[in-house]
């Protein structure tokens, strides 16, 4: 027992040496017991006080700190029939979506293997390998740039696959997406082209009965959005718009907080984007093999508003021009709005005012790099403000401001009582609720950490856009959203970002774009279904 018995002790009292432990020994045994007693008394006093406080708060709020009570299953049952997929637009986003469907490019696999060896926090490869097997085949690739089409074909037959699935035969390349849609070789397509093509491609796919997963933002213009909506509504296809926040556990939890009316009357919602990198401002790499010989420029331009001579900048950095997209409005306001729409179910606003300018990236772009939009929802008695800059990286987050509390939503979620709340007044006064600290926090997947590889990645992680959690397991939100789309194709039901949500996203963002471009306040006319 005692590990000090080898030490010599010379000056013990004679009685003890004689073998009488007796009273003194007993006293020495028990003398530290009062210390334990005092400790336990204080420990339980504090614990009981903390528990009472916590229970009082939780009872008041009616939600728990654990995961969302109900998380919709992205995949309702094991994937039965195999679905044949086509990818239209295999650029950065397209390649990512294909990977999340189970087809990583071999170079990506190798890069991630090395990255994980260098820093174990890089878990991208592990997350890829642990993806659910969606039972899909990538049978068709369409891209106007030869290099990207070839990369799609390479990904389609990759040997490293989730769940140890064997490699598939190579996908067939189609020069024109329409040939793919009519080939009989695809059941569904992922559209990840620039925004100006989304509407026409979806309309054509719907006409052929091909299911569509379309990247956000849904369309480049209001007219395209309405036409696309009609085409999807009048068809039997399953449509999913690529807002991966729909699968974020923190966002689902945030909706629970709203449903429990913890914030009181919400009068202001603030969504923000701050980025401070060239990449974040869409100054993307120009591929060394990009040329008029390797890029079908005419097909790229397609329905673009203005036809211009071949331009590498425009091809590889298309988000910088209104001819192909809508800049901050389409790329990032759309995310913030869809998150707010998911949590509050706001729908299309009554009016919008937007402003901004090209203040930092004077590189020939015509979309603003600083952009603010203010939306009014008089029926809901609230304003939604979006504020963004591409030349400052200070994180501002997404805030829901109620009379009784403020909710901040990112990868995590926190709710802080308002100093002057009516509902929590008594509890603030008697010290149960401290308005200087969150009274409620929720951190999905708290037993794991994310590799933060860049400021942009950090932005996405903080928004819950790259990874989310299911039962503490890190999952890609993209993967879950694609999985949900395939599940609805097989088993019926409704996708979480269907054409109704898509139209709301498109019209809301177009209102800000119109307001900015036309320099006036715009309104949505719900009867005539147009922006006025």
């Amino acid at each position: 027992m005692s590990d000090e018995s080898t030490n010599t002790q010379s000056n013990q009292p004679a009685t003890e040496k004689a073998g009488i432990v007796g009273r003194r020994g007993f006293l020495e045994l028990v003398v530290s017991l009062p210390v334990i007693g005092v400790f336990l008394y204080n420990f339980f006093k504090k614990k009981v006080a903390d528990d009472v406080k916590k229970e009082a708060i939780m009872a008041e709020l009616g939600v728990g700190e654990s995961g969302p009570a109900y998380i919709p299953e992205a995949i309702s049952r094991p994937p039965g029939e195999r679905i044949r997929l086509g990818i239209i637009g295999n650029g950065g986003e397209g390649e990512s979506l294909v990977r999340h469907a189970g087809f990583a490019h071999p170079d990506w696999v190798e890069d991630q293997r090395q990255a994980a060896a260098e820093d174990p926090r890089n878990q991208a490869l592990q997350v890829y390998l642990e993806q659910d097997d969606l039972n899909v085949e990538l049978t068709a690739v369409c891209d106007v740039f030869d290099v990207r089409a070839e990369r799609g074909i390479a990904a389609s037959q990759v040997a490293t696959r989730p769940g140890g699935r064997s490699a598939n035969p190579p996908a067939k390349r189609f020069r024109h997406y329409h040939d793919m849609l009519t080939s009989g070789e695809v059941d569904g397509v992922i559209i990840a082209t620039p925004d100006h093509w989304h509407s026409q491609m979806t309309i054509d796919a719907a006409a052929e009965g091909i299911h569509v997963y379309c990247e956000k933002r849904m369309t480049r213009t209001e007219e395209e959005a309405l036409a696309m909506y009609e085409a999807v509504k009048n068809s039997d296809i399953v449509f999913q718009l690529g807002h991966q926040n729909r699968q974020s556990e923190a966002h689902i939890k945030a909706r629970e907080v709203i449903d429990a009316n913890i914030l009181g009357p919400i009068t202001l919602v603030e969504g923000t984007t701050n980025r401070n990198t060239d990449w974040g401002a869409w100054v993307w790499d120009i591929h060394e093999e990009g040329s008029p010989q390797t890029i079908d420029w005419e097909l790229f331009e397609g329905p673009a508003a203005n036809k211009v001579p071949f331009s590498l900048e425009r091809f590889f950095r298309w988000r910088c021009w209104y001819d192909y997209g809508t800049g901050l409005s389409g790329d990032l306001l759309s995310h913030e709005y869809d998150a707010v729409n998911q949590i509050l179910q706001l729908g299309i606003p009554k009016s919008a005012v937007a402003s901004g300018g090209i203040y930092y990236f004077k590189d020939g772009r015509d979309v603003p790099d600083v952009f603010q939009a203010v939306y009014e929802y008089p029926d809901r008695e609230l304003t939604f403000v979006y504020s963004a800059t591409l030349a400052n990286g200070s994180y501002r987050g997404l805030k829901f401001m109620g009379h009784d509390a403020t909710m901040q939503v990112s990868g995590t979620l926190s709710v802080t009582a308002d100093q002057n709340s009516s509902r929590y007044e008594e509890k603030i006064q008697n010290g149960v609720i401290d308005p200087s600290r969150p009274m409620f926090t929720y951190r999905p997947g708290f037993r794991g950490i994310d590799a933060i590889t860049s400021a942009t990645a950090e932005y996405f992680v903080s928004r819950g856009l790259l990874y989310t959690y299911r039962g503490g397991r890190r999952m890609s939100a993209y993967h879950l959203l694609i999985g949900e789309w395939l599940d609805v194709i097989r088993n019926g039901g409704e996708t979480s970002c269907n054409i109704e949500r898509g139209l709301e996203e498109a019209i809301t963002c177009h209102m800000a774009t119109r307001s900015y471009v036309e320099n006036r306040k715009v309104e949505w006319d719900p009867t005539r279904r147009r922006i006025v």
Binding site: S2, E4, V21, S32
Partner: protein, 172 residues
């Protein structure tokens, strides 16, 4: 260990003995509460601390943080290690083993995130530290207790020691 008169508790003054025993009990109290506070908090994990690790051993600590199995194990060892070490230090039970274990734990905390010039941490400290922080001071205080063992001045170790010496254990 230190030999001679200085290390002989029998020659310490009452003041010296009380000071050393008090130090042992207070460090024990701190360990015990750190352990129990983590034990009763279902959201506690060492992941953030480990993931923020810097300096030579950061690779090791970060790889623990990223491995769910290792992390669970390390969290478990940490919580129960702190609790048991704390309890033993207060009671004066297996004092030497508990002291050495405490030194090892504190050394791990220290080398995971040493406050050296040039290293900065996301988690803010409550004070200002350069090279020396409270972890290091607590560690060295335990080293001092190893040099001046108090388990047999006041503690269960003393009773066990006396019982052994008197043959009480053998008789039982």
């Amino acid at each position: 260990m230190i030999q001679g008169a200085a290390a002989d508790p029998g020659r310490w003054t009452r003041f010296q003995s009380i000071a050393l025993v008090t130090l042992r009990i207070l460090i024990g109290w701190h360990f015990l509460y750190e352990g129990l506070a983590k034990l009763v908090n279902p959201y506690w994990t060492s992941a953030d601390y480990l993931a923020g690790s810097q300096w030579w051993f950061s690779g090791l600590f970060i790889s623990i943080a990223t491995s769910p199995t290792l992390l669970t194990l390390v969290d478990y060892i940490n919580v129960w290690g702190l609790t048991l070490i704390g309890l033993c230090l207060i009671l004066g039970l297996m004092t030497r083993t508990a002291t050495v274990a405490g030194i090892v734990l504190l050394a791990l905390y220290y080398i995971a995130a040493p406050p050296f010039a040039g290293l900065s941490y996301a988690m803010p400290a409550e004070g200002s530290y350069l090279v020396v922080n409270k972890v290091l001071i607590e560690l060295v205080a335990l080293v001092a207790l190893l040099a001046f063992p108090t388990g047999r001045i006041l503690g269960v170790d003393r009773v066990i020691f006396l019982m052994r010496r008197t043959g009480a254990l053998a008789q039982a």
